[in-house]
Symmetry: C2
Subunit: 359 residues, 2 copies
C-alpha cells in the first residue's frame, strides 16, 4: 500500500512529519511518498536516505496557514498538499495525510480527488475519547452552515466509519442538541431529527453536550460550526484543567509531596486524552482516503495518522460509503418512513447496505 | 432586601433549597420568602421555623420538569415558580431564584416580570471558571435560533454583567466562532461581527472554543443552541475526566500510593470547577433579577445563587441594562460606524452608558 504524506504541512514540518513517516514505514511496512521540497526532505531524513519504503516527490510550492484555501489550492498546483492529493486521484497512492491548513487539505481533496457520488458535502470526523472508548463527532468543522439532509449524510458516514474502523457492529447514532426530547433543538436539528429517525440507522435520538465524553452513543451528528466549537472547547478545557491542577499542586505542600506519584498517574491519563494517540481526522465523503492531522502534530501523531489511513484503505471505508449511493439520493426530502436508509436494510442489526456491500 | 425562592424547584427540593435559603438568610441578613407547599416547607425547616428572616408563601401547585414551560406557566398560576416571579413583579421581592425547570423559570420571568424595554430576547448568562477568573458565556440556552441584533444585545448585557457583578472595569467581549479571522464563521456570526465591531463595546473579535476556559476575553457571545452545548460539553468533560483519572489511579499501585494526597489536591481543584461555587445563572434582559440554578443544586449552590441575586440588586444590574434603552433600539440594522453603542460612549474605557447611568 502506498500513502502520500504532505511533508511541508504542520507546525513541525518537515522534521516531525518525516520522522513519523519513517516510523510508519518501518512499523507497518507501508510505502510512503513524502511530498515536499526535496532538498529539505532529504536533509530531514538524515541517515534514512536509503530507506526503500520511502520515496520523495519534489513539490516546489507550499500553502501557508493564512492563505484562502480554495484560491491557494487552485493557484498552487505544485504545492505539497495538492500534489499529495493528486497522487490519490491518479491511483499512485491509496491515501494522503496532511497536517497543514485544514481548509487547504479539504480543498485539495475536493478539487483533486472529488466527492463520492451522491455525497453533498464531505465532513471531518473527529474521534474523541470517552469513558468507554471513542465517540465519532462529525462534522468537526468542514461545513459551518448545513442543510438537514447533509446532517443525515453525516450520520450515515459516521455510522460506516464507526463500523469499519472502530469495529462496532451496530453503532449508535445521536443528534447533538439541547435536550433529549424530540421537540428540543434549533430549526436545523428539529428538521434533521425525523430524517435520522426514519433513516434505518441505529438512531437513538438527541444527545446533549455531556454525552459526547460519556460515550452514550458511538456517533454524534452536528453541523461543522457546532462541531468545531465542541472540539476546541474540549481541547481548551483539558489544557486549562491540567494547568489549574498543577497550580493546585504547587500551592499545597502536602499535595506537592504526592506530585511525583500524581504526575506518574497523569501521564497515563493524559495519553488517553491525547489527540496524537488517534492521529488524525478522516475527511469522509471524499472519493479516496484523506486524513487531516492537527497542526501541532509530531512524530507519534503522524505515525498514527498513517496507520489510520492504512486501516481506512484496508477496511474499504470509501467503498462502503460508495455503496450507499442509493441512500445518498435522498436530498431535502421530508421525513417519511417510506424513505431513507431502510431501502438498504436496517442498521440496528449492523447490516446497513449489506445488499450492495463489497465485503 | 427580600428575595423570593422557589422552594419546590430542583432535584433536591424542597430540603436542600430550604437549607440553602436559611443559610443565606443567616449569613447575608436577607429576608427570604420561601414559595412552595407550606406543609412541606414547614416540615423541611425543622427547628428553624421561628427564623424571623424567612417567610413562607403557600403555593399549591408545582411545575414538573417534563411540562411544556409556556403552557404550564400560563395554566399553573399558583405554582411556586410563577408565584415567586409574581412577587418580583409586584415589588414584594427584589429578586427570585429557582432551581426548577429552566424553561418554566424563564417563562415565569417573561410572563410575570416582563422584558426590559428594547431587549428583544432575554439571555441566560453562565459564568464559567477560566485560568484567570471567570468567563461570562451568553446565551447559555434561552434562545436556540437567534438573529444578529439579538447577539449584539447579548454582548451588551454580558458586558454590563461583567462590569457590575464581576467588577471588571472594561470587559473584553468576544464572538464565539470557528477561527479568529473576521472572515471565519457561519452565516449568523458573520452578520454579528460587524455589529459588535461597530458597537463601541470592547470587542476583541472572534474567539474559539479553547478561549472560553483560557480567559482570553471576559464575555463570550453565542446563540443559545451553541452556548448550551458548550456548557454541557464542559460539564460532561469534567465528569468524564475525573472518572478516567480515578480509574488511572486505581489501575496503578504506585499512583494509588499517592491517592490520598492527590485527592486532597483534587478537592481544592474540583471546588474551582464546581458550578455550585457560582450558584446560578442570571436571566439578563428581564425587568427584574431572576437567577436560574442547576437542577441538581444543593444547599451551597442555592446559598450562592441567593448571594448572586443580592449582588445583582445591590449593583443595580437591571437599572444598568434599562439605561441602555437607546442602545437596544438598534435592531436588524446593517453595521455602520455611525450606529451602535458609540452613541452612548465608548466602552473601551469602561464608560459605556455613563451618561445615562444611575450610579
Amino acid at each position: 500500500m502506498r500513502i502520500a504524506v504532505d511533508a511541508m504541512g504542520g507546525d513541525y514540518a518537515p522534521g516531525e512529519i518525516i520522522k513519523g513517516s519513517l516510523a510508519a514505514a518501518r512499523e507497518y511496512g507501508l510505502e510512503i511518498i513524502l511530498v515536499g521540497n526535496e532538498k529539505q526532505v532529504r536533509s530531514g531524513m538524515g541517515g534514512d536516505n536509503c530507506n526503500s519504503l520511502v520515496d520523495i516527490l519534489h513539490a516546489p510550492e507550499v500553502i501557508e496557514m493564512g492563505e484562502p484555501p480554495a484560491v491557494a489550492v487552485r493557484r498552487k498546483q505544485n504545492s505539497s498538499v495538492v500534489m499529495a492529493a493528486r497522487l490519490v486521484k491518479e491511483g499512485s497512492a491509496q491515501a494522503f495525510v496532511s497536517a497543514g491548513s485544514t481548509g487547504a487539505a479539504m480543498a485539495a481533496a475536493l478539487l483533486q480527488v472529488g466527492r463520492i457520488k451522491g455525497v453533498d458535502r464531505p465532513a471531518i470526523a473527529s474521534v474523541l475519547p470517552n469513558e468507554k472508548g471513542f465517540t465519532v463527532l462529525l462534522d468537526a468543522g468542514a461545513n459551518v452552515d448545513c442543510k438537514p439532509h447533509q446532517l443525515l449524510q453525516f450520520g450515515l458516514m459516521g455510522y460506516l466509519y464507526a463500523q469499519k474502523i472502530l469495529a462496532i457492529s451496530a453503532p449508535k447514532v445521536g443528534l447533538l442538541s439541547v435536550g433529549e426530547e424530540e421537540t428540543k433543538g434549533n430549526e436545523l436539528t428539529l428538521s434533521v431529527f425525523p430524517l435520522l429517525k426514519n433513516s434505518g440507522l441505529n438512531f437513538t435520538g438527541n444527545v446533549e453536550g455531556r454525552d459526547i465524553f460519556q460515550g452514550t452513543v458511538d456517533v454524534v451528528v452536528c453541523d461543522g460550526f457546532v462541531g468545531n466549537i465542541v472540539l476546541k472547547t474540549g481541547e481548551g478545557m483539558v489544557a486549562a484543567l491540567f494547568k489549574m491542577f498543577k497550580e493546585e499542586i504547587a500551592r499545597n505542600w502536602l499535595a506537592r509531596l504526592g506530585t511525583a506519584v500524581a504526575l506518574y498517574a497523569l501521564r497515563n491519563f493524559r495519553r488517553r486524552l491525547d489527540y496524537a494517540e488517534y492521529g488524525g481526522a478522516p475527511l469522509l465523503g471524499v472519493n479516496g482516503v484523506a486524513i487531516i492531522c492537527h497542526g501541532s502534530s509530531k512524530e507519534k501523531a503522524i505515525k498514527n495518522a498513517i496507520r489510520l489511513a492504512r486501516e481506512s484503505v484496508e477496511n474499504r471505508l470509501v467503498e462502503a460509503i460508495q455503496n450507499c449511493t442509493e441512500i445518498f439520493k435522498i436530498r431535502g426530502l421530508e421525513a417519511s418512513s417510506e424513505q431513507g436508509f431502510n431501502e438498504c436494510g436496517d442498521s440496528r442489526n449492523g447490516d446497513l447496505c449489506a445488499g450492495g456491500g463489497t465485503d
